[in-house]
Amino acid sequence: MDLQIWVEGLYIGSVYALIALSMTVVYQPTRIMNFAQGEGFVLGAAIGYQTIGVWHWPVWQAGAALILLAMAMGYVMERMVMLPVQLSGNRFAWIIATLAAALIFQSLFNLPYANVTFGYFEFFKTRANIFGAHIAMQKILVFTFMVFAAVFYDQLLKRTLWGRSIRAVAHNNDTSIILGIPTKLVIKVAFISGTVLIACAGFLAAPVIIVAPASGLFFTIQGFTAAIIGGVGSPKGAVAGGLMIGILDSVVRSSLGGTWGVFSTVMALALILVVRPNGFFGKRVVGR
């Protein structure tokens, strides 16, 4: 089999891993799998398209705009999701709240951009040659960003006070309030940083992956699958799950054909969950 196939799989996998990772960031303190998370990816791509592609801003300036807008989106999303969830008290309320948020953001992207796919020039136009496989530098950039983000978040969770707070909030909301952990702030920060992370991913990947205004839900489902395969809530799991479905999809498609690609990822998901009901790195999840 061509090395190219594996390299491509690794790259696509790193995109899925980034999405899964940002879902993990939100999941850790809230126990919510955010169906609107992929909209952040679209936001990043849309900002890149508008600022770099159409207005020809320099990358740093576009990046600044990206961070600000992503923070705003994360804040708005937190309100859209957490307010109904906290009021409802039903353990499934998050499904409907996050789907509604996804629907709203998707419509907003579609209004001005219905005809657009958010592509623009790559930051580095060179291609690397790795043992005969050609790969755009931009893709290596995405992969590197993924590795850094995963390691950073993993260490943050393990080594810092803030990381312990996040885990405390996840474990028991009431206790953490008693312990003086600012639960609400932790959740807000999780939404904002998760959105910034995924928006950066969209911003970096858009030149080398096709992002349309309505692709948010597609990327969400891929990230969702990756996170679940790896084990929800685990940064390691997000990376492992993302890379696994990326490579699996790429390899199976090239050896067996297109429809088998879909089947293989979905079947892998079902099989893994049947054999390992909590994913590779996951702990048992109990409903809220």
Binding site: M33, M80, L83, P84, L87, S88, G89, N90, R91, F92, A93, I95, I96, A97, L99, A100, A101, A102, L103, I104, Q106, S107, L108, N110, L111, A114, L217, I221, F224, T225, I228, V232, T259, V262, F263, V266, M267, L269, A270, L273, V274, P277, N278, G279, G282, R284, V285, V286, G287
Partner: protein, 604 residues
């Protein structure tokens, strides 16, 4: 208050009756509009959606199972009808029955494969299955019509080949009412109570002898059957079966309807779908802004009505349950036989030999041999972290043993907690594990699960067998509540009664399982004196009736007055055993606890 409650209730009943009558007459109203077939169509489709949403409510609302494959089940029901009637020329009625079967069988297959996956992971499996099912249908060639689907499905006929749309509408409405009744009967039956118990607290439910897997499979099968039915009916209404029907995106209406109406409420799905269908009708002209308006309204509704229409009503002053006051004579009139059967005095009911449980290097339980006899109150004391609760978890099957053995009634204990419970060992947890959203009476009835000798079909169709069993159980449950002084609270939700009442209720619920051994983990914590007296009376009475009552307690006063025999545990080992008097004088106990103010104070 009572009269206003009754008035409101009458208004609601009358309102429902009028609404049903109006719905039946709807085809006549539609005829007066400028577009009769359209209005008939959207209401008919909404009726199908309501059936599917009820199915989703049974699964998610009552069963607590997150399903993202209900649109897929709907699609399969539709294809069952389309394939059988179009390709194999089956009678439409038989095809509808097969749609139900296909839905149920498919649901059972999925849940059997994924029994070990819980909550989110189960939800993800259902999402994956949904994608696989849609893809399989698309690759089905001429069998399923591939991407184009199967077109030309017809409503079945009674005397003619095909019903008129008006007749089919009336049929759909009747089916919906039938499905509503099925849902209600299911929810109010023992089966429904157990399912909700599992949803609220799988741990407690298993302690009461409920098998989680059997219930999950059954509830998912019922839900799948109804989803298949909804899909079969929808294909007849639309005239086709298409793979896109299975798309989760198109199924948003069901989730939205469920939450807007009120999840885990009976009428919620119907009211919710009515609201969503009306919204969709009103905003149909917004074109590009359609999903934006829908999403916005949805979030708004969730903020304004976070528990849904019916849920908010239930939580409001008007919707809270009517409290029935019993007078003393009524309370006294309850007769109850709680004597333990098939047991002789001082019979060894449970014994352990050198039982050990290690967590890594920590020896939580380290070689405990203990014997529980009938008619005996057996106290277990020991400082915090001495291994009391771990011991109980080992005896009741919640932890696998590191070493040693447990025998129940002379036989080796089974491995699963609910099987141990079924042998007559019932456990009450240290932290209250009530089914807080259920009524006090329903909590007790859940404990009577094993006495209900009726099937899920008896419950759904309310057969005489069900009615008889249900009347008997309710009567017994009331008698038990009377024993604990909780009869006046029977209709309140368990979450709303006082802490002491909750502890008593837990004991009552445990007694309702008719245990031979009742294990109570710190039942006296936080009880007022009058409540303590009731508890004490109850425990003495149970022991007198032949039960073995095991008490883990910190309240030494309470224990010493009550226990026939006390076992003292320290660092996972038994350091003393005997009557309360013997233990209190035991040098080893006093030595071991010298300087431990917490314990010596308690002993003194």
């Amino acid at each position: 208050m009572i009269s206003s409650y009754k008035t409101l209730n009458r208004v609601l009943v009358a309102g429902t009756a009028i609404a049903i009558a109006l719905l039946y007459l709807f085809p006549l109203f539609a005829r007066t509009t400028n577009n009769p077939s359209y209005y008939l169509q959207i209401v008919s489709v909404a009726l199908c959606s309501a059936i599917l949403t009820i199915s989703l409510n049974i699964c998610m609302g009552y069963g607590g199972l997150m399903s993202l494959m209900h649109t897929g089940l709907q699609m399969m029901g539709g294809y069952a009808v389309a394939i059988l009637t179009l390709n194999h020329h089956w009678n439409g009625w038989l095809a509808l029955v097969m749609a139900i079967v296909v839905g149920a069988v498919f649901a059972v297959l999925v849940i059997l494969l994924s029994l070990r996956a819980t909550y989110l992971y189960f939800g993800m499996i259902t999402l994956a299955v949904n994608l696989i099912a849609m893809e399989a249908i698309r690759q089905g060639g001429s069998f399923t019509g591939g991407y184009n689907g199967l077109i030309g499905v017809m409503a079945p006929g009674i005397t003619t080949t095909m019903m008129t749309p008006q007749a089919f509408y009336v049929f759909l409405l009747t089916i919906l009412i039938g499905v509503y009744v099925i849902q209600r009967n299911l929810v109010f039956s023992g089966f429904g109570r157990n399912t909700m118990a599992l949803r609220e607290s799988p741990e407690t439910a298993t302690a009461l002898g409920i098998s989680p897997n059997v219930h999950r499979v059954k509830i998912f099968a019922v839900s799948g059957a109804l989803a298949g039915l909804a899909g079969g009916l929808l294909s007849m209404q639309l005239g086709y079966a298409m793979s896109e029907i299975g798309d989760l995106g198109s199924g948003l209406i069901f989730f939205v309807g469920l939450f807007l109406g009120g999840i885990s409420t009976l009428a919620g799905p119907i009211i919710g779908v009515a609201v969503v269908a009306t919204i969709a009708f009103l905003i149909r002209g917004t074109a590009q802004y359609n999903t934006l308006v829908l999403g916005g309204l949805l979030l708004l509704c969730m903020v304004v009505l976070p528990r849904g229409v019916v849920g908010m009503y239930r939580y409001s002053r008007f919707g809270s349950p009517h409290v029935r006051e019993f007078d003393q004579a009524e309370i006294d009139s309850f007769q109850l036989d709680i004597s333990v059967k098939d047991v002789v005095k001082n019979q060894i009911l449970l014994e352990s030999h050198d039982l050990a449980k290690h967590f890594g290097g920590i020896h939580a339980v380290d070689g405990v041999s203990i014997v529980f006899r009938s008619g005996e109150v057996h106290g277990i004391i020991g400082p915090n972290g001495s291994g009391k609760s771990t011991l109980i978890s080992c005896l009741t099957g919640y932890y696998p043993l590191t070493a040693g053995s447990v025998e129940i009634l002379g036989n080796p204990a089974p491995k699963k907690p609910f099987l141990i419970s079924r042998l007559g060992v019932t456990r009450v947890f240290q932290i209250p594990h009530l089914f807080e959203r259920e009524s006090v009476l329903d909590n007790v009835l859940t404990g009577m699960y094993r006495r209900d000798r009726y099937s899920i079909f008896d419950a759904i169709f309310r057969t005489p067998r069900y009615r008889k069993a249900n009347a008997r159980s309710t009567e017994e449950a009331r008698a038990l509540l009377a024993l604990a002084g909780l009869l006046n609270q029977q209709d309140l939700t368990a979450g709303s009664i006082s802490h002491g009442q909750k502890r008593l209720l837990e004991v009552v619920r445990a007694v309702a399982t008719q245990p031979k051994i009742l294990i109570l983990d710190e039942p006296a914590t936080g009880l007022r004196q009058d409540e303590l007296d009731v508890l004490k009376g109850l425990i003495s009475r149970l022991a007198k009736e032949g039960m073995s009552v095991v008490l883990i307690e910190h309240n030494v006063d309470f224990l010493m007055n009550l226990a026939d025999i006390v076992t003292v545990i320290e660092s996972g080992k038994v350091i003393a055993e005997g009557t309360p008097m013997e233990v209190q004088k035991n040098e080893k106990v006093l030595d071991a606890y010298l300087g431990r103010t917490d314990f010596s104070k308690e002993l003194a």
